[in-house]
Amino acid sequence: MTVTMLTNALLVSTAGATEPPVVEPAAADGALSLLWLVIALPALGAAVLLLAGRRSDSWGHLLGTATVAGSFLVSLVSFIALLGRDEGDRSVGQHLWTWFEVGLDGRVFSADLALLYDPLSALFLLLITGVGALIHVYSIGYMALDPRRRRFFGYLNLFIAAMLVLVLSDGYLGLFLGWEGVGLASYLLIGFFQHKPSAAAAAKKAFVVNRVGDVGMVLALALIIATFGTVSFAGISAASSQVGEGTLTAIGFLLLLAACGKSAQVPLQSWLLDAMEGPTPVSALIHAATMVTAGVYLVVRSNFIFENAEIAQTGVVVVGTVTLLWGAVIGCAKDDIKKVLAGSTMSQIGYMMLAAGLGVAGYAYAIFHLLTHGFFKANMFLGAGSVMHGMNDEVDMRRYGALRAAMPITFATFALGYLAIIGFPGFSGFWSKDRIIETALAENWVVGVAALIGAGVTAFYMTRLMLMTFFGEKRWADEVHPHESPKVMTTPLIVLAALSVVGGVLILGNWLKDWLTPVVGKAEPHDLPVPVIVITIAITLVVAVGVALAWFLVGRREVPRTAPTDVSFVTRAARADLYGDAVNEGLFMRPGQRLTRGLGTFDHSVVDGTVRGTAGTFMASSSLFRRMQNGYVRSYALSLLAGALLVMVALLVVTIA
């Protein structure tokens, strides 16, 4: 009763939303028939680099970069070809091969590997291959001194190929294939510095936590096959309105669980901060720009399920809202520059999830923020990598300070990314985050206010990061000589910084909304309680307060070189990732360990005890009987005689009776 009321109170209104569109993809022709190359190129690169071994050490990084760049070119050509098509005709399918066919309830269930190229996947293709290519270029410089650079590029190519399978697949089965592929690549790359126990542990943690989400994915897949008899998006979206809401809600929540795991959303958020053990380009590519946004992609792609399952949609909003505050609070207390950015990533993905959960009104903004975030967060992660590169791999911001003179290009590009993420008017983040907060306010003011507060906290921790890294007194050790990174690293920074600034053009004239309409449906204009300009000013004011707060708390004071310990409870909690690990350990790990230990004891004492006891009984009795074989012929003769007498007596008894 109470639960129902609560759900109703939280339920986000989607009244007036149109039914999700049903588009049967047309066959690929012309330039689009080369679509398979997008995946094939990086896959080939990964195969060559990982199989050829040390022979490819000298040119491996070049091949790895070239394949992704080639992939980007194909994506670009495909995108232009798609632009040239009519709006209703922008869904293109390419059937590769039939994976397997099985009988299912008298029908044939055919698992086809087919590509779906539509406005949504087109944007992802550009983001993945574009940002991916830039990060490949950057990695040439960043990993130059690493003897295992070739292997690194092999893994990166593997990741790109898997991620492209994820976003290009025309159904959940192929999506799942890519889903697991990026999980594997993420595991390999987080643990790339495998000689460090912390990196190996972080990789394992990411893998295990993702496995929890993957259980949701597998169950959702099973439920989808059982309900619809098909896994293709087109088939499911055509049939989704005829399926009961209970089933769709179940599928929705299972998909949400999967999205939580991959996108590091509460309650499966704990792995992302540890994942920063990986090389910084990995953090930029996988744990900021692309892979962690796969959960958002999944929700947006599954709009035909969530549109008919309001409770699951509300779940998405709740998860997004909680995570955007969660990540932001963690970001405020961390001193490790990469962990601040990781908390920020978590928080920004929370924004996307929130938008995706708002339904038709929010899908386009979720994707918009995903793209702009892909630009500015990759930019800042690579900037952080550039700082670390010049500071002997130091990550503690308390050992930075006054770096703006030593590395001007890094500083300038980082500053542009910073302005974008806090939502400085005119920068890309300003447009995308404002739209999300606006839509949230229009749909449900609680969520909207939470998103607004999140924007202020974001401004606070990002300003803190900027001040501690680039401003103030120099706090680095004498043997550290900060220097600007080589051109091969700064060029991608400049390109990404430019994209961070101008990324907002995508929404000019609502282009992105119209572009995505064939996939997610047309949003009705929402009515805000106050004019848009008031909200924009309010957001900007909140951001300004966050910046000012950071200036008063961090910028004006001297930053201690070691973290102060006499801090408030909130800071301690945020430093400990808001006790996410403690909760997991107390709630799952320890009881699990106790259970397994108990089962082990049970197996050892009861199961093995029974077996060993049986064997022991027979051993004891056999050793008793064994004594009869004493080797004395005369005793054998006696038993012979006794036996013969016994037979005789028995015969006598039988004869007489």
């Binding site: 074989q629 004493n630 080797g631 004395y632 012929v633 005369r634 003769a637």
Partner: protein, 99 residues
């Protein structure tokens, strides 16, 4: 014809043989006791053959003799070999084949 004395003699001889096998340690004596048992059996066979008036029992007795002859050859050879290797003809000394 009264077979009782023959059967009684056969039983007495067989019992002597049994006691010999069970109580004596010298392999040769044990062997002789076994022969005594065989001959007691032969006597019983021949007696019953006479009683029934056919040759079945006598044929069986011949079989026993032939087998006993063969057995003596092999048995004595074994006893000889054991005596040579172990310097003893006691059946209790040859007790290696056990648990």
């Amino acid at each position: 014809m009264d077979v009782t004395p023959f059967i009684a003699l056969s039983a007495i001889l067989f019992t002597i043989g049994c006691v010999g096998v069970l109580t004596r340690r010298n392999a040769i004596v044990v062997f002789m006791s076994v022969e005594l048992q065989l001959n007691a059996t032969n006597l019983a066979l021949v007696t019953f053959a006479r009683m029934h008036g056919n040759l079945d029992g006598q044929v069986a007795a011949f079989f026993v003799m032939v087998v006993a002859a063969a057995e003596v050859v092999v048995g004595l050879a074994i006893i000889m070999t054991i005596f040579r290797t172990r310097r003893s003809a006691s059946v209790d000394d040859a007790s290696l084949l056990k648990y």
